[in-house]
Subunit: 300 residues, 6 copies
């Protein structure tokens, strides 16, 4: 008699309960933000992304015609973290991620990606290819004395052999960065497409370069720091940098990655307290929707 | 292994799924706002109230020592309404409310109270006593041509015999009002404590007057329009009026209503788009928490 | 002695009183928002658009050199609507629009366009060509049970013969949509330029396609849903979708529609409670200013 | 046929055009803010106050039963000021105020009160009694080198003989202030009720003291700096001070000033860019409504 | 020639550089927020409080006539913390606080108080008396597994003998709390004045009770959690609870603590991202100003 | 022992104290906003820009590899202005600017540029070349009666021979403008690239045209009105116009001006009260960072 019990199933395509066995995709929030260097508050990101996803549940994807709302997706809620203990939290995140076949993680800060990669590396037994959207290279060896802060994720991911740097590409980079950090990154084999280059060469060429680097066969991971977008499109984030991507550009790139073998993804650094009118949370929810539409497309 | 699946059970004491049979209290959102005369948007109230309730779940009530988080409460989600059809929506709300033994409704506009009272009246077979917090008397015979707008709820409730006007009391009234409407209300037997009177006589005397009017035995309903609070305490509402109550005053009143026989309640007119930093939603969630702590208190 | 009585004439080029007979253009607000499916509050759109128009009154249009502030424009205020009654409101809107020769309507939700087209269809005796900027096709046969919700406007407009679907073109479409709805629309003859296509082909080509579809002679109507813009440019709207148009793109398109025979227009879905720093209202006011500059240009 | 032309008459009880001759009260905005020492932007105050007044037009005042919406009130729009020239602006304001019998001015900064008092002084031929609500004494002899800044208004008003300091009373004072300035003020005969005293003695006693100072016969002026209210009740102002009045307290005081002979009033220092959800503008509009209800009350 | 170099000396009475030796009071920010359980972001509190203090620098305190701007106060900037390591950060804070004679600390979360008390305990060689304004008792033995979270500060302070619980008093308490935690606190000897009691007994009686508990001779510490204020007065905080104190009440209490021997203080839990129009930051700055005016008053 | 005293040196690359003699670049804020015609409040711009600059201090510029944080830059704080006296303020600004070798000024309104150009003209003994980013030509002969308002800066700069109009170029122009004002500007020799042209021709061509007009040898000044950016990228400004530049476009242009002989710059019209999440202030800070990176680049 009563209406749709939206709260039990979530307000959009995110937020569904686990129903039955074998969902193809598992969504989880990871409310970690104790390793950030600038504005804090990304722990509230998952709730905001779920709320914003309510706008995306009805209808098919207008490019792939995927019925994302009809896919087998479970939202298992929030991961546990250890309050005030960054290394402990990273270990706990890895532990929780290990048994999940195909995880779509909602940050939280970018630091969550390191344990997610560790878990996948162990599960798969080989390094991952990496598609990394970000304003920051995140390959610093430390941040203000913290070895595992959100600016050092890929320094560790490369050094620990979690990712294959020759199959790793960064898109949207534009922050201040010490030349030594930049050079170290390039010398490992990582390809960087700066934000200015994205604006110059256009999304089709960006997608072509990504596909060239990542290849068709390697298990690939998508990590999407929402600050790759310009603050006009994503004001709700901790370390904004102007000159960034428009949201349509990231959609145009993602829709062209049809032959990449994605095995997991995350969207991180959504900071709702600095958002306006939910636009950052909506961008994050839409990136997940694009990813699901890509992987669940009828012809695939 | 994974953390508390907050999304399946909701972020606070609100938002729980129905687990097993026989919850003592049922919570539901009623996202109606098509009958309002000023700012619209109260349909988003329930989601905001649930979200704000996350802060109230841990620990006992510091006055009654009720463990509200441990009470048998089910959140059944949102009621259905009929888009663009006010009378149709009211009928549908009544239909959904009928089978629920003790409903705690989250508006939505104040218009939702009329069908809730109709449902209770039919269930109980007698008129209800009414404790009505509001800035507005809501006894207009019509609003801009609409007979069932949110300003006419108690005009109908009295005329339809849903409430006993001699057991009805309004607290916090202060808006402009035609003298004829005021007089009609008083002449029906309704007692009014204006906001200025609340400030002058204090909450203990207000509570005493309420208890005097309502009595111990009559089945009583609490309808709490959040705009009874001053806009400083509740900016997120559709028709604010300055000079209103402080939130501590309403708590001081409610805690003294220990021998009223409440059979249901609602909190209405929370408009999240005009809220700041969740304070209005938190006020609404706290009123529900006070109500549950009162009814579920150990000694009762 | 006293300064410009801005309130009598409005703060900008909108908001003027009717002075004398025969204004060439009549502006009116239509504060309807009871048929929306997501965020409510568009009823406050007209007031915000008028307020934002104060910035556009001094000086000529820098492309057409039209002195918009000097044109014969009357603002007749707000249309009446019927509170809580969508079909009744639509009938009332049509009735008020009928006698107005060239109406520029400020919504309110997109649902207002249906009665405006009905009024024009009766006045003109022939179906209209339609230039439709929007993130959503709005050709659903119903929305959550409501036949006349804001997502069904053009389903009815086509079925009722108000517009000629072969002279109808939609620009900016990008929301989730059931494939069946899309196919129905295309099969009627409607042309769709998605937001991604706008970004790829550029505004000159978009304008060329519009002119090719609409032609020079057919009486044409412009309906501009502000959510065609990306949320970065128009956060203050009810159903935002990322990946949308930049405001400069819509200006670049509109300035090229020099030989379209426009007979009316509307700008809809401005939701001030979600706006930031008036930018959405300013975008809406500027679209009206562009339309007036186009039609009132010296050489035309 | 068309609805109420709200823009010609304004959205509330403010904003009406002058209709015929002889309105009893004339409302005007004075958009001056070039003499403020802290946050600027009060020039936008009048527009916000008018907009907020839309909520107050229907119904009688619930204490005096005055039908404020039916009183003879004209809104003449905005006064002219001279951009970037404070003394010139003050002269121009005085010139515009002179011919107006009973002016209700909406600031703008508090500096506007000086020329309004000058105009009244000349018109009446005698010094005025003054009821002055404020967080600041505004009797500094200069502010950062500016002699006519908004902190020096009453220094000049006393020195120029515009007001009778022995019939002048300040309510709500609490800002930092040099002891010398305080002493100068007291020594002139001005009575001060600090904000802490208002909280201690209550509004009835405050009103009694005001009536004692001002008397029944002297022509009296009410100047209401919105920052007399606590920032919780009036965040939208330029120089907030915590510990201020609640809005209900000011209403309780004003309603008791039934035998004061008011000849004019102003409400100043509303700064909409810092307001939240219109609550400051609504407080300002309500103060005007209280003033009009007091003066236009049936028994008076 | 150039104007006041406000940035070198800070914008208000806070933010001054250390000039010469021997300032009587040292101000420092402690940007810790990694131990909070709800909203994060208090690390940005100190910058906001300094900025808000610009409004308090000119003039004397209107009760004590202290020239706070002329007192010997040094702002030493921000303490270092260890990113992502709560126990490490607490140790580092204690280390930095040790050499400072009279520290006024700006949080940051309430967790900073524990190391500040440890440093003072070691310096003074005896337990401190404690005046504790808060909505929460903060005597939990742990929070979500974290032993040193911001809800356990006074559990440790009592157990470690940093404070004398029989000379400790809490004002404003009102959050949900397990009865066991409450009883433990009371049984240690701590006195609690709930928010409801403050409203009932008034600030003079509150001050009398504080003075009775704390005494004249014991070295006393003031810890002021901004969430003791109602969210209307302090929306910018991490764990708001409705029903709290008005800012004037806390001023009225503090001004009466003239014979308490204060040796240090902190103001914590200001969260600027949730503030509106700086009112929370201004409240925090004003509390520091009250403290300094009290201690630096001419007669003292 | 204590952490970095951020307040003494500022939170970013701006805000440093003068250390030693001979800094290459001097930064100053000019808090003037009494000559603006629309929204006021730009006086608070410098503080917001400094605060936002904290994000830019670590690392090298990723294009020029300049270590901006290591450059010799002094922030001398705020210029004095004369409250309420525009001509007096302009004279005072010129006086303060005269002795500064290479000034980087943070507005404040655009009116500050006139005295800065006067000071430079006297210092250099020849007219300046001018690179002018703006939505408005600012060559009006007066604004609402004010000769020196912020819309007349370049009318005077040309007439007083401060700039060589044949070496002057405006980028981003798009506001309403009287044809006569436009023609006067063009006839003086000024080149204008409208916002629509920037979108059409791209930043490389824009930069080429600028270099062609300005040349390599003439001393050149950069004046950057933040409203050249679209309101999506810079909502926090006084006179926004839609259809503006993206922030990446301005960066792409500035990075190509490698052989222009810049002798000074300003960024003006940042209005923090209308900003969202600091994005406008960050854009302004980044423009200064780009300017410094360009002039301080290793190879130069």
């Amino acid at each position: 008699m009563a209406g749709v019990p939206t709260f039990a199933t979530g307000p959009g395509f995110l937020g569904r309960r686990i129903t039955g066995i074998g969902p193809s995709f598992t969504v989880a929030g990871i409310p970690l933000d104790i390793g950030v260097t600038n504005r804090a508050g990304a722990r509230s990101g998952p709730a905001a992304i779920r709320q914003a996803s309510r706008m995306l549940v009805d209808g098919d994807h207008p490019h792939f015609w995927t019925d994302v709302g009809g896919m087998a997706i479970a939202d298992m809620g929030e991961f546990e973290i250890m309050l005030g203990d960054l290394p402990g939290s990273l270990a706990l995140i890895e532990q929780q991620a290990r048994p999940i076949p195909h995880l779509i993680a909602m940050g939280g800060e970018h630091g969550v990606t390191l344990p997610l990669l560790r878990a996948l590396r162990k599960r798969l037994g080989e390094p991952l290819a990496l598609v990394h959207f970000d304003a920051h290279a995140d390959t610093w060896d430390e941040s203000f004395g913290q070895v595992y802060g959100h600016g050092s994720v890929f320094y560790h991911a490369i050094n620990e052999g979690l990712v294959d740097p020759r199959r790793m590409i960064q898109i949207g980079i534009r922050s201040p960065i010490q030349r030594g950090i930049w050079d170290w990154t390039i010398e490992r084999g990582v390809r960087i497409i700066t934000a200015q280059e994205v604006h110059e060469i256009g999304p089709a060429e960006v997608a072509a370069r990504i596909r060239g680097v990542v290849g068709r066969d390697a298990p690939a991971y998508l990590t999407f720091d929402i600050d790759c977008l310009d603050p006009a499109f994503a004001p709700g984030t901790g370390t904004p940098e102007i000159g960034g991507l428009a949201s349509w550009q990231t959609q145009a790139v993602l829709r062209r990655l049809v032959d990449v073998s994605f095995v997991g993804m995350d969207v991180v650094e959504v900071l709702p307290a600095h958002d306006v009118s939910e636009i950052t949370a909506l961008a994050a929810a839409t990136v997940i929707w694009e990813y699901l539409a890509l992987l669940g497309r009828p012809e695939s």
